[in-house]
Amino acid sequence: MKIERKALFEKSFPVSSYPIIQLSSILQLAFLLIISASCTKSSQDTTTSKATPYVIRIPKYFPTELNIPADNPMTVEGVELGRYLFYDGRISGRTEPDSLMSCSTCHVQAHSFVCGIENPRFQGGHPRGLTGILTPHFMLPMINLVWVTNGYLWNGSLSPANPLQAKRRLEDMCWMAIVAPHEISGDTSRSRALIQGIEGYPELFEKAFGSKTVTVKNMGRAIAQFVRTLISANSKFDRFLEGKAQLSEKERKGYVLFMTETGGDCFHCHGGEGNPLFTTNLFYNNGLDSVFVDPLDRYGFTHNSMDVGAYVAPTLRNAAYTAPYMHDGRFKSLEEVIDFYSSGLVWSPSISTLMHHVSTRGVQLTPSQKSDLKDFILTLTDSSFVTNSEFSRPPRLPGEK
């Protein structure tokens, strides 16, 4: 990756100005050294554990800025602990087999960490909590979240802009899931105490965070670290961008449709070659409805009238695995989604201005164009992501015989 990034860096500057940049870099480095030398005392104050740094490898063309909070640096031990907790149903604070619930109960790797439309436990792919209460929304895939910088969840409310300090970061999802009536419906004290008492966990917490004492805060930190490792960048389209694969003629046609205004015009919201996350992670009213009753849309968070009916544009990576689609799961297949954008758009005062095809109810694709577009979207399938053993349930959880 270093070589690739250097190549990009060199490409960014004309030859004549490159020596200036090099010199400035040297000077900046010198200043950083001065600063680090003179401010050693304060740096030492923040050191809390001897855990091994975990380095995220940034895939080619992916953003170089990662959303990793300064107070929760990635470590090998933190990620390992987070993986155990992610899959451990005892995080629910319960031990009876029918009362266990963990992140992985709903976030299923085989479905890019949504529960899947065929999930026997959650009819139609709509998760419900331990007590049977349905979640307000269907699920978002858990892919490449380390690059989300403007809020998590469908309305982006888990962000620094949230007035509630405890609901701003990925780390906060742990306690939120434990207490949410539509999820674990539990008690953080009970969850913490149970994990504390399981043989092996205190040692794992000590390795990760320097203390054997289990805290909900550190549970959240560990799970967030694990979730940040869930990176998908090995689809056919990724290999195509790197010159290692060819698209079929239908896929190529679909790619052109995806990237053009007169085609499907998907790229403005869902990225493309210039944004390989395949989402801007921004919020749009995409023309689903004309009447809006969901209190948890983007408007529910921002109270900006232009955000009525708006939700985040989900990544299209692994869309093959993540049905049903939309915040309310109304579309069961990619065909239904494409049909909607082709001829089902509904005007409303707050419809995103990027949805300019609403004047003709949609982009008006022919049947063969729809088929081509779907074929292209399927090139974003990364099967290695859903089978990667590093993301799977560990063979044995702490305390298991």
Binding site: L8, K11, S12, F13, P14, S16, S17, P19, I20, L23, S24, L27, Q28, F31, L32, I34, I35, S38, C39, K41, S42, Y61, F62, P63, T64, E65, T149, N150, V256, M259, T260, E261, T262, G263, D265, F267, H268, G271, G272, E273, G274, N275, T280, N281, L282, N304, S305, M306, W347, P349, I351, S352, T353, L354, M355, H356, H357, V358, S359
Partner: protein, 287 residues
């Protein structure tokens, strides 16, 4: 630009850039350390030019999301997103010396929804003297405009599809508009970037046979202003949204089916208007 002038600029830029780096990288650190009593604060004051980007509709500041503007075609409109690149900002000194801003590779991204992007601080790199004009490129020129230049948002999200010429949008102005007397407003994507030439004028990406660079340069003669060592000067660069619609090529939203990325004629006409959308003024002091 002559070769000798180029070298002179580069050498002076080098010296100035070193000064900038020293001041920008060093001073904040020294100041922060001062609080803990470790080192003393530096004393030299940087020469600073701050460019403020002011988006206007005629004489009033642009207010996003408000359906209150009207163009010559008798269309009401509101702007929901306004994002654009300005590059190659160059100050022309009265003695013939030119100074080109090198911060951020000489590129600045403006987003009406991100207040921090409405200011561009040219740090301490501006040579003292009297300047009589400013020029810049609207968008990115062909040399600067290549794909994967920006990997991080928000600039990343300005990417322009490879099939349509690649690089980045020069400008995204998303708006909705309605004719007088109509209730319903429809979106329009006023997007500018590299244009395409289509074989037989059939708008099909497979029939693209050439590309057109639509960026343009703006030169704004201004009443002379001087900047002395250690001074902070504010340069206000205004863009009048209505000028994009009301110039010599009156822009009718209805004519272009609410989009223009694949309509070189629309982009060309818009850019002719856009050349007259800018004005500059100078003031003393900071923000």
């Amino acid at each position: 630009m002559k070769t000798s002038g180029n070298m002179r600029i580069q050498l002076s830029s080098l010296c100035v850039f070193i000064a900038v780096v020293c001041l920008t990288a060093g001073l904040p650190a020294l100041q922060s350390c001062t609080k803990s009593g470790i080192t003393e604060e530096g004393t030299s004051k940087p020469t600073t030019l701050i460019i403020r980007f002011e988006n206007m509709v005629d004489t009033l500041p642009l207010v996003l999301d408000t359906m209150k503007y009207k163009n010559l075609a008798d269309d009401y409109y509101k702007v929901t997103d306004l994002q654009y690149f300005v590059s190659n900002v160059t100050l022309h000194r009265d003695d013939g010396i030119v100074y080109r801003a090198l911060n951020n590779d000489g590129i600045h991204y403006v987003d009406a929804r991100i207040p921090s992007t409405l200011y561009w601080t040219i740090n301490a790199s501006v040579p003292p003297g009297t300047f009589d004009s400013i020029s810049f490129t609207f968008g990115l020129n062909a040399e600067m405009n290549y794909s994967y230049r920006f990997l991080n948002p928000p600039e990343r999200d300005m990417n322009w599809p490879e099939i349509l010429g690649g690089g980045y949008h020069y400008m995204k102005m998303n708006l909705s508009w309605r004719k007088s007397g109509m209730n319903r407003a429809y979106p329009f994507n006023f997007h500018l970037g590299i244009g395409q030439i289509y074989r037989g004028n059939i708008i099909n990406p497979d029939s693209i046979e050439g590309y057109v660079q639509n960026f343009f340069n703006v030169n704004l003669p201004a009443s002379a202003f001087s900047i002395s060592q250690g001074q902070v000067r504010l340069l206000v660069l205004t863009m009048n949204i209505n000028s994009w619609f009301n110039g010599e090529n009156e822009f009718d939203f209805a004519k272009y089916q609410n989009m223009m990325m694949q309509n070189q004629n629309a982009m060309h006409n818009a850019c002719l208007n856009g050349k007259n959308a800018f004005a500059v003024r100078f003031t003393s002091g900071g923000k």
